[in-house]
């Protein structure tokens, strides 16, 4: 096939694409009321649902933060030092997570369909991948859920239980959370433990975001 034949074929294909009209579009476009009606409907957009998910997470995070703050405030005794330190640490993690989620909500607001295709799509893919970072960070708080109920009384009265059960469990959680913090990354996305850890929907959408991110990069690099 030579260049002229190809050009003719592309021209015909282009006409066919335009001829295969989307039903009802004519009346749709001409009717402003349809737009107003649609505005009232719940948007189907994936971005909107992602934002709604993050807003719910922020609200729950704030409630959790307030609850922990309340516990902390009414437990200010030196005998409860393990409880106080553990709850304080969890409060810090919760606070940071709330701030990051709020930042992501702002990012979603800033994604603009009128930007160039590459710019907008890159931001979208990055947003998806950034959820991985917050997840790995939140794993770091796991050891504190093993220590909040410790007390000096417990250590003195049941040293065996403490040194042979509670302490090793906390230690295992510490190592595991540090390992997860270091290992949860895009480069490990294809590993089996990663797939087990993240449920299939999250994993699939992460894979898609990552593949698309790579596609964007190679598209930009002219390769």
């Amino acid at each position: 096939m030579d260049e002229t034949e190809l050009q003719d074929l592309l021209k015909t294909y282009n006409q066919k694409l335009e001829e295969a009209k989307v039903l009802n579009l004519q009346s749709w476009v001409l009717n402003l009321q349809c737009f107003e009606a649609l505005q009232k409907q719940k948007s189907k957009s994936k971005l909107r649902s992602l934002m709604n998910f993050k807003i719910v997470a922020v609200i729950l995070g704030i409630l959790w933060f307030l609850f922990l703050g309340y516990l902390l405030f009414y437990s200010m005794e030196i005998q409860k030092i393990f409880f106080l330190v553990s709850v304080a640490a969890i409060i810090v993690f919760t606070f940071i997570a709330i701030v990051i989620y709020m930042h992501q909500i702002i990012m979603i607001h800033k994604i603009n369909n009128t930007e160039s295709v590459l710019e907008a799509q890159e931001k979208l893919a990055q947003l998806k991948l950034s959820t991985l970072n917050i997840t790995r960070f939140l794993f770091l708080q796991a050891p504190f859920y093993c220590t909040f109920w410790w007390s000096f009384n417990f250590i003195e009265n049941s040293p065996k239980s403490f040194w042979f059960i509670s302490f090793p469990i906390a230690l295992i959680f510490t190592f595991a959370s540090i390992w997860l913090f270091k290992s949860i990354s895009i480069k490990n996305i294809h590993k089996k433990w990663f797939k087990i850890l993240f449920n299939s929907t999250e994993w699939t959408s992460l894979i898609k975001a990552n593949n698309f991110f790579e596609e964007i990069n190679s598209f930009k690099r002219n390769i």
Binding site: L10, L17, E19, L30, S45, F219
Partner: protein
């Protein structure tokens, strides 16, 4: 968009360029329901983004940006593998002469080829089919004009190769 008059003016402009919407819907979605959904979403997003229309760009450039972004963002996941060809089935085209049948076959092959392209290459191809200038394509996609030229050549060459293989 501040008032109803402006919205109506915008709708008129969208109406004048509705071919863009048909092309993108037909390229990114392969069943009727998805096409209609995408068309609605594109129009909704166009009207919602109206305030950001910058008159230094052509209206069609702005419209392509929005429509392609919507198509790629919201419909990448919904992509169905079933491809409905433009051409009718062989039994429906008994009246066609040999040339028409060959053309329809080539169109189907081309449609299959474009359908297999990656999302961004597909966007590039739609713009190329529209005979948009390399400058406008680069503004819509956000890559350099040289990059646009290289990619178009590459796609065209692989198309030619595909057709030569079939004709052999």
């Amino acid at each position: 968009m501040s008032n109803r008059k402006e919205q109506e003016k915008l709708l008129q402009m969208i109406n004048q360029n509705q071919g863009i919407i048909f092309k993108i819907c037909n390229s990114y979605c392969h069943n009727k329901n998805e096409r209609e959904d995408l068309a609605q979403e594109i129009i909704y997003q166009l009207l919602k983004s109206a305030h950001s229309f910058n008159e230094q760009y052509k209206f069609s450039t702005w419209m392509y940006r929005v429509a392609l972004n919507v198509a790629i963002s919201f419909y990448r996941k919904n992509k169905t593998k079933e491809l409905i060809p433009f051409a009718e089935s062989r039994s429906d085209r008994q009246d066609y002469n040999d040339h028409s049948v060959e053309l329809e076959d080539n169109i189907s092959i081309l449609q299959g080829f474009i359908n297999e392209l990656k999302e961004l290459d597909k966007a590039l191809m739609i713009l190329y089919l529209e005979t948009r200038s390399y400058k406008e394509i680069s503004e819509i996609l956000g890559i350099t004009e040289t990059n646009v030229a290289t990619k178009i050549n590459r796609i065209k060459n692989s198309l030619k190769q595909k057709f030569s293989e079939i004709n052999q």
